[in-house]
Assembly symmetry: C2
Homo-oligomer: 411 residues x 2
């Protein structure tokens, strides 16, 4: 029998308890082992009185570790005390499964080392892409590939908001409120809407894919809080959709990564990833592009990945542990490829702004459509690297008549 302690009994913890109970018979018939939840850690026992497994609930981490336990499942979220508890569990030679992307992005290297030193496994499939099998396929099935690039939609909350803004012409604030009402966004949505959540997930994927430590704080991060209805009107004029993309690439062992709103063509794979879904494209030298998508969060999809991790530990007890490479990645500040861009410049002098743009860029098509606002110039600039754009815009932004510059990469 495999004894499981669950830390956290919120939405995901409840899903896991249900899934383990549901799969008891089937799992035993496949592996010969029975899964059993021995205890569940909560902050406040009183809140869980009505729940099915109330007799297993405790508010004492000591009790958790004093019970016989083989696998600790951490689904509390947040950095502390998750970090301390997971570290303690690993040092006590308990296997750990976590769904916590903050924890892995911040302390993954250290915790994987501790796991390895103690001969136990730390699995974290659910930390990226929710229910989508992605980390294990990347680490194991695609082991023969040198990975060049990752393009992904990794945050369901922002994808939901952008989908509503696109499909129903909602403003950002209304779409955020709807997401909050439906439980897709938290009361404090900062980590999602500012792009931090996606950046943490991208750093986990990139660290594994490139075999180098890609810290999430080194990724260029831009959230979705500044996107307005006019941006979507421009996007639609061109048949584009705006998505918060998380992209990293490895070019000659230099890494470039960003999380930002990008205009993508409406016939691309990622353009079809709507609402709370996630999607990930991995490009490897042998396999070419492989695409994965599914539900990126939620009670049962997350529990599905956690269950897979538990099954993995039970079925492969002697498995070699993965480690994050401690070699720090060399991070490029700029994407060195040429792209097309959509730019919007708020200005008190349209004519001069248009002249400036025309002089600065060889291939610059000004918008003259009805979307264009009186106090702005909008243009598509083709085939320029980001660096050229940014250095030109730095000069432009110093002109007295230019008040704001906004740019979108077009992919």
């Amino acid at each position: 029998m495999a004894s499981i302690a669950v830390l956290g009994y919120g939405v995901v913890g409840t899903g896991i308890a249900n899934l383990i109970n549901k799969n008891k018979e089937r799992f035993k018939s496949i592996t010969g082992e029975e899964l059993n939840i021995s205890s569940i850690l909560v902050k406040d026992k009183n809140k869980h009185e009505q729940k099915q497994n109330y007799h297993l609930v405790t508010d004492s981490i000591e009790k958790i570790f004093n019970n016989p336990v083989d696998i600790v499942v951490e689904v509390m979220g947040g950095l502390h005390p998750a970090y301390e508890y997971v570290k303690k569990a690993l040092k006590l030679k308990k296997h750990v499964v976590t769904a916590n992307k903050d924890l892995i992005a911040e302390y993954g290297e250290e915790l994987l080392d501790i796991a390895s030193d103690n001969g136990v496994t730390l699995n974290f499939e659910a930390s990226v892409g929710g229910g989508i099998p992605i980390l294990k396929p990347l680490m194991e099935s695609l082991a023969g590939n040198k990975i060049f690039e990752i393009q992904a939609i990794l945050n369901g909350t922002t994808n939901f908001i952008l989908s509503k803004m696109y499909a129903e012409n909602m403003g950002y604030k209304d779409a955020l409120k709807l997401a909050q009402n439906l439980g897709f966004a938290e009361a404090n949505p900062d980590s999602d809407v500012l792009g931090y959540d996606a950046a943490r997930k991208l750093s986990i994927l990139s660290t594994i894919a490139y075999g180098m430590k890609v810290n999430w704080v080194d990724i260029n991060i831009e959230g979705i809080t500044d996107i307005d209805e006019i941006d979507f009107e421009y996007a639609k004029l061109n048949g584009y959709i705006i998505k918060l993309l998380a992209i990293s690439k490895n070019k000659d062992e230099k890494i470039y990564g960003f999380v930002k709103p990008v205009m993508i063509k409406s016939d691309s794979y990622l353009s079809k990833i709507d609402n709370e879904l996630n999607g990930i494209v991995i490009e490897g030298d042998a396999v070419g592009n492989v695409f994965f998508s599914g539900k990126g969060a939620g009670m049962l999809p997350t529990a599905s990945s956690v269950f897979g991790d538990i099954a993995d530990i039970i079925q492969n007890k002697n498995k070699k542990n993965i480690k994050f490479n401690d070699k720090e990645a060399y991070i490029e500040k700029y994407w060195d490829e040429k792209s097309d861009w959509l730019v919007r410049i708020k200005t008190n002098d349209r004519l001069n702004t248009i002249c400036n743009l025309s002089e600065s860029f060889k291939n610059c098509h000004m918008y003259t459509s009805s979307v264009t606002q009186r106090d702005e110039v909008a243009a598509i600039i083709r085939n320029e690297p980001e660096f050229t754009l940014d250095s030109t815009f730095e000069k432009l932004s110093k002109l007295s008549y230019v008040t704001k510059i906004k740019k979108f990469m077009i992919l």
Copy 2:
């Protein structure tokens, strides 16, 4: 050091040899083990004189087994002698990796039992979906799910042909010839164009997903040889695309499966799977829909999956073996859900045929467009189960003026 014998030195065998050589250093640094190709089995040594690894080439299976070898990679294809060689390897307690879907669909259960009895592993990721990681995610990452349905495009050859017929208005024969010229179709394309290849892959996926033996011969199979340009014109009129879909589902432990050309809406995931790509949607009770896509065949994508299988064996030497359940699935002859259908009836009496159709189906919309041929009636029939259609068509086909009936499910 892990010693690998490769059976077959065609396109895929060459890809594997290249990938193993390329990954030597990296693999050793990750696992501490060196991969080494000890011998390569070919039919005719003279044909391979110019190849890099000619010194490893042998035409004697005895030599292969007399060399020290840990893992046998079977990429000869076909049933015989692949079956005999793989069986012998397993009995000699060699791990086996194969890319051979015919072999696994036909002899998978027996071979997995032999592997298990001999304490070795038989891996076959590349047998379905080429480079796409699908079998391992299904077996391991999604282990906590009851799988309800699989919808997939599993044959790159037919998908290429149908993509060309759709995008370039080519006839079937021209598109097949193009596929053959580009190496996407074999000189004898029967196994692909008649749907057998897709059915074998669907049977492997379904056997794993539902934990019951789904024989490929029990799957309803229809190929693409009868599809013509007019079918595509009707499809386009409605915004549909024609794809050879492989679908199975588990409803109350009864299995239904088919491979046939289906009209699908052009905004669905699978409609974006063009040319030689494969795509697979798996529906699980916890995870919901998960979607995988990528290159379904080819030298390096196949080698990518084979390499993942090899790495898996080396890193998990004590891994428990999977088995195919020997419980035969109960196979339903008919899909019991209502669908929409496009039907084309060749007839010498259009008026009477239209009357027949109108009387038989409540919701039947006749085509009156320019596509409609003089000697045929075409119609969309909504919300009818396949059984009703087939029994009506059986009667219709006996009428003297009806010469041919063709139907497409619309999904």
